[in-house]
Each structure stands twice: as structure tokens, then as C-alpha cells.
């Protein structure tokens, strides 16, 4: 019997990239079950399919075959508009290169998802300031990304991912561009969100030692396949 607390589930998840006659298998029949409120780390060498998995779970990409179910909905069957709504309201994503809009300040970057949700300007501002305060960046709200440190930029990205109260947070190598101390600080923020707000976190990282300190479960990837599942705590 399946766990009723499962928030993300995949069955035979396969992703093949085609470029002319060349085909690259990024994911090979991956079966996963992620419990609600868990903190899962996905590790493995470069090109093992970690980021592809995250893109599929985040609804940024579509699978070649198999099934993905998140929050009870089959996202592998969703059309483009439904996927956009899923990304907008159900899931938050954080990236290694922060992906902030350089022409906009921290506050405006955090507000961005609310713009597409049709939230009023006043409400957008209120919520963005609130979430920036939670990640400790209220005083830096009017600074542009170029005026912020890497750690601060990643905090802005976390704030942006949290603005629509998602139940799932997907982090792709979010410490890749940060020093070890800042990396620890950022993962601590995620850990607190997981602990205090019950947000399910799936974090891709190849810094196994670091994630081992925080994650509940670690999944090891190699050549697009799950080679090991490990319960840490």
C-alpha cells in the first residue's frame, strides 16, 4: 500500500533528449515516492540526471514516458497552461545561478510570481516585504541583484520561490556558486522552512557531506538511474 502522505510520486519516469539522430537518455525509468514534509537530497555526478529530474518535478519540462504525480495531480498529463498554474501556485524553484532579473530590485524580483497571479500592487508589496523579512533581507529590499552578495541573491531567490506559499520547494544546486559558510546558511534557511512550515524540499546537490547534515533522505543518481536510496534521519 502506498503512503497516504506521499506528495510527489514518479513511475517509470524517462526523459530522452533528441538532437537529430543522436538520442541522450537523461532519466531511465525512475520510480520515486517523496513524503509530504520531507527534506530530500538528490546527489550524483554531473550529467547523472539530477537537474532533469528537478525540471520534470517542477513542470518546466515534460517527460518522454512514465508518470509524475504531485499533490494528487498527474502533472505528466498536464498541458502548457496547466503546468504554468502548477509552477505558479504549487511549487517554488531555486537555481544555482539565482536567475534574478538584473534590472529589478530585490523587492520587485520577489513580487514577480504575484504579477502573473493578478495580485494587486499593494498586496504584492505587502507579501514581498513580509517574505523578504523572513529571509533577513528587508534592509536590502531596494538593492538590485548586482548590489547584493551571492548569498543575499540566493535568499532573494528563496523569497521569490516562497511568495505564493508553495507546498513543494525544488532547489537545483543552490549552493554551487556560494562559499561553504554561505552555503550552510542558505541550507539552514531551507531546513527551517521545512521544519517550521512543513514545506517539502527536494534539493539537488553534489555536496553530499553538507546535505547529509540537513536532509531526511538522500537519493543517489548515476547515468539517469537511482542507484541508492538512503534514509539519513
Amino acid at each position: 500500500m502506498k503512503d497516504t502522505r506521499t506528495i510527489i510520486e514518479t513511475e517509470g519516469l524517462t526523459k530522452i533528449y533528441s538532437s537529430g539522430k543522436i538520442q541522450v537518455v537523461a532519466l531511465k525509468s525512475v520510480n520515486l515516492s517523496i513524503a509530504k514534509g520531507s527534506f530530500m537530497a538528490v546527489t550524483g555526478p554531473s550529467g547523472s540526471g539530477k537537474s532533469t529530474l528537478l525540471n520534470l518535478l517542477g513542470g518546466l519540462d515534460t517527460c518522454t514516458s512514465g508518470m509524475i504525480k504531485a499533490l494528487g495531480k498527474k502533472i505528466s498529463n498536464m498541458n502548457k497552461d496547466e503546468l504554468a498554474l502548477y509552477r505558479r501556485y504549487e511549487v517554488g524553484m531555486i537555481f544555482q545561478s539565482f536567475n534574478l532579473i538584473s534590472a529589478r530590485n530585490a523587492l520587485e524580483n520577489v513580487e514577480l510570481p504575484l504579477l502573473f497571479a493578478g495580485v494587486s500592487r499593494k498586496e504584492r508589496r505587502r507579501r514581498a516585504l513580509d517574505v523578504l523579512d523572513k529571509v533577513g533581507l528587508f534592509p536590502r529590499r531596494n538593492h538590485r541583484p548586482s548590489e547584493l552578495s551571492g548569498g543575499e541573491q540566493q535568499r532573494v531567490a528563496i523569497a521569490r520561490a516562497l511568495i505564493n506559499f508553495p507546498q513543494i520547494l525544488l532547489a537545483d544546486e543552490l549552493t554551487g556558486n556560494l562559499d561553504s559558510q554561505t552555503s550552510r546558511g542558505i541550507i539552514t534557511v531551507l531546513s527551517e522552512l521545512n521544519r517550521d512550515q512543513g514545506i517539502t524540499i527536494v534539493m539537488v546537490s553534489h555536496e553530499e557531506a553538507l546535505v547529509r547534515e540537513f536532509a531526511h533522505e538522500i537519493i543517489h543518481f548515476r547515468d539517469g538511474e537511482v542507484v541508492k536510496k538512503e534514509k539519513v534521519r
Binding site: N55, G58, L60, D61, K80, D81, A84, L85, R87, R88, Y89, M93, F95, S97, N99, L100, I101, A103, L112, P113, L115, F116, A117, G118, S120, R121, R160, N164
Partner: protein, 451 residues
Amino acid sequence: MRISDHIELALFNLLKRKLRTILTTLGVVVGIGALVSMISFGTGMQRNVTKSFQASELFNSITVFSEFASSQSKSEHKGREREGKERKTSNILDDKAIAAMEELKGVEAVFPEIRFPAMVRFNEREEFRLIQVIPARIAGSKLIKFRLGQPYYSDDEDSAILSDSLLKKLKVEDLTSVLGKKIEITSIAIEFKDLSAIDLPSLLEGRGLPFSKEIYKFTIKGIAERMGFEGSNPLRSEVFVPPGAAKKIKKLSFTSLWDLFRVREVGQEYSAVNVRLSSPKFVDSVQTQIEGMGFRTFALAEQFEEIKTGFIIVDMILAAVGMIAILVASLGIINTMVMSILERYSEIGVMKAVGASDKDIKKIFFFESSSIGFMGGVFGLGLGWVVSKIINQIINFFMAKQGVPFIEFFYFPWWLCLGAILFAVLVSLLSGIYPAMRAARVDPVVALRHD
């Protein structure tokens, strides 16, 4: 996304690249400016012609021809008159027919086309002219433009209206001085009692014509501006007299040689009659009713529709020239928008990652291109207006030297102003289709890796 957010976002993105936005918008400004000034010129010309026609109340008249006269005048009007129903023998263009026409709804006055040759004598000088008989109510209408004096108010007055050009010919320097003075009109008439068809051969040779000369005196009551002898104005003369007074004048009652013989067959029949209407809206109904009586008709209002079609064609040609500039401007917009996509590739990926749908992305680009169009439309309209004002002043400066009064060659009706802006937005929207589709197709996975 809210519309206000779309507008704000569009302006934010456009202002990020000020110079490029200004240059692209300038393309639209020039295009719309050219288009607007071209169309306003066409519209202005049409307006001027319509206004002058309306001011002279030419649309309020119908000319009615008897079948006999029209068979000759047909070639004159190049077939523009409408064929009446088959002529009934009883339908003769005489006083009875005039009385019947006067009864029709919308008819203000009916007066026969009577002109007779006479010698006009004033100031010891003589000029030969065709004198036209018009009733007092027509003399007082806008068909005659008075320079001085006033129209006669009764059909029986021994008064006349003279044109300023005739008075000039008669060497009158001070026009005011002639008002109230008498002119002599010397008419020639045929004594019909002495005429028979047997006399035709000698008559054609100019021998044995039973002419008589009579002199009549008329008071100059008004001085009119020169009336053209060409065109469709029912009043084409330089001397006008009322019908009551004209009846007393012995004159040739025909306007063509054919009338000379017909006058004895059918009694007094006019070759043409002018019908004046209270409003141009009655033209169609009155024309149909008169044709029903068996006469042929000619109305300028009807002919004006053809002129209008001509103006539409001219407008279209002018607009086509302006469209070339718009086409170039639209290529500029496409270029700017495509460049913008390439620059904002990862930004589009971020927007998609945080929940923007393809539709949202398309809208963002459509709002940007239409903002360029709107600004280009507004400023283009302004440019067109300024340029046309300058051209108008220059043309009028040179025309004033030749004594031509000021003419507004360009006209900006509300529909042109509004249409120019809407058209600019529409063209920009169309130009934005390809860039918007391309932006919507951006793969967020690739775009986020773009950095």
C-alpha cells in the same frame, strides 16, 4: 496579469532601452505623420469642394427638362440626367406643370429657365447680355451672392440685380453709386403674328425677320458677385430681373431655334425648369415624382456622389503612399522586438519558471509593441498636424499674392485623429505577432541554463 501591470511592465522594459525605443517610435511617428498629412489633404480638398457647393445651395436644386429640350441637352450633360417615364402628351413643361411641381413635398420654388438676349445700357455704355428671369424668393436665396445692395422682394418690381463684372465692363468705378439708379434694357422680339413656317428659307438667310425693339427701365437694386456661365448653377447670368416685370418685356421666348416652331404648336412650353428644394434630402423623392410626370431631371446632388467616389480613390492613393512609410516602421518594430527577446532570453525563462503562461509572455510583448504604436500614433498625428499647418501657410502665402483668399487645404476630422492612433496600434500589434510567438516558444529549461 492585470492590464495596469502589463502597461507598467511594457513601459519599464521599453524605457530600459531608451535610445532604441525612441528610434523605433520615431519610425512610426514619421510613418503616421506622412499617412495623416496625406489623408488630411484629401479630406481637406473634399471638404472645401463640398462646403462651397453647399454654401451655394446647389444641392437643393433639380433641373427639369421637357422631352424635346432634353433630346438636345442630353449630349451637354453626358447622359447624367435620368430618363423620365414615357412622355404623356399632356405632360408639357408649362405653367401647369410648374404649379404641379410646386405642390410636391419639399419643393420651395419652381421657376422656368428663362433667358433672353438684350442690350444693357448704363453710363452711356452698352453691353449685350443674356438676361435671366428669376423670382424674388430665388433672388433672395443663397444662390446669389451679393456684394452690395439687396435682392428684389416682389416679382412685379421693375428692379434688377447686376453682376459686379458687368458693371466693371460698363466702366463703373464706384459700385455703391449705382444702387438705385436706372439701367436700360433693350430687348428684341419676334412678332409671331407675321411669322409662318413657309418663311423658313428666307428666315434662315436672315431676310425678312419680323423683329421689334423695345426699351425698358429697371432700378439697380443689388450687385451680385460674378456668376459662372459654366457648371451646374441654375443661375447663369449677369443680369437678373423678376418674372412680373419680365412679362411686360417683349422678347424672344425661345432658347433654341426648335422652340421657335414648337411655341406655336403646343403653346407656351419651357425648355427647362429649375426646382428649388427646402433641403437636399428631398432630392430623391422629388426627382422620382417629377420623372413620374414624364419629364427628365438633372440633380447635382446625384452627380456629387460620383465626385465623392473620385475623392475616395484619391484618398486611397494618398494613403497608399503613406503606407510605405508605415511598412518600414513596422519592420523597425519587428527588429526591435526580436532583439529584445534575444536580450531577455533568460528573463523570459525566469518568468515562465515562476508561473507565467505562454499567453502571459505573448501579452507582454504585444503590450510592448502596441505601446510603441500608441506613442508613434500620438506623436505622428502631432507631426502630421504641424507639417500640414506649415505647408498650408506656405501655399496660402503664395496664393495670397495672387489675391486668392485663405484656404484650409488640410482637414483633421475626429475619425482621422482617432483612426491614426488606432491604426498605429494595430500595425504595431501585427508587427508584434512574430516576436510574441517567438518569445512564447522560449524553452524555460534552455533559457535558465542560458547564463
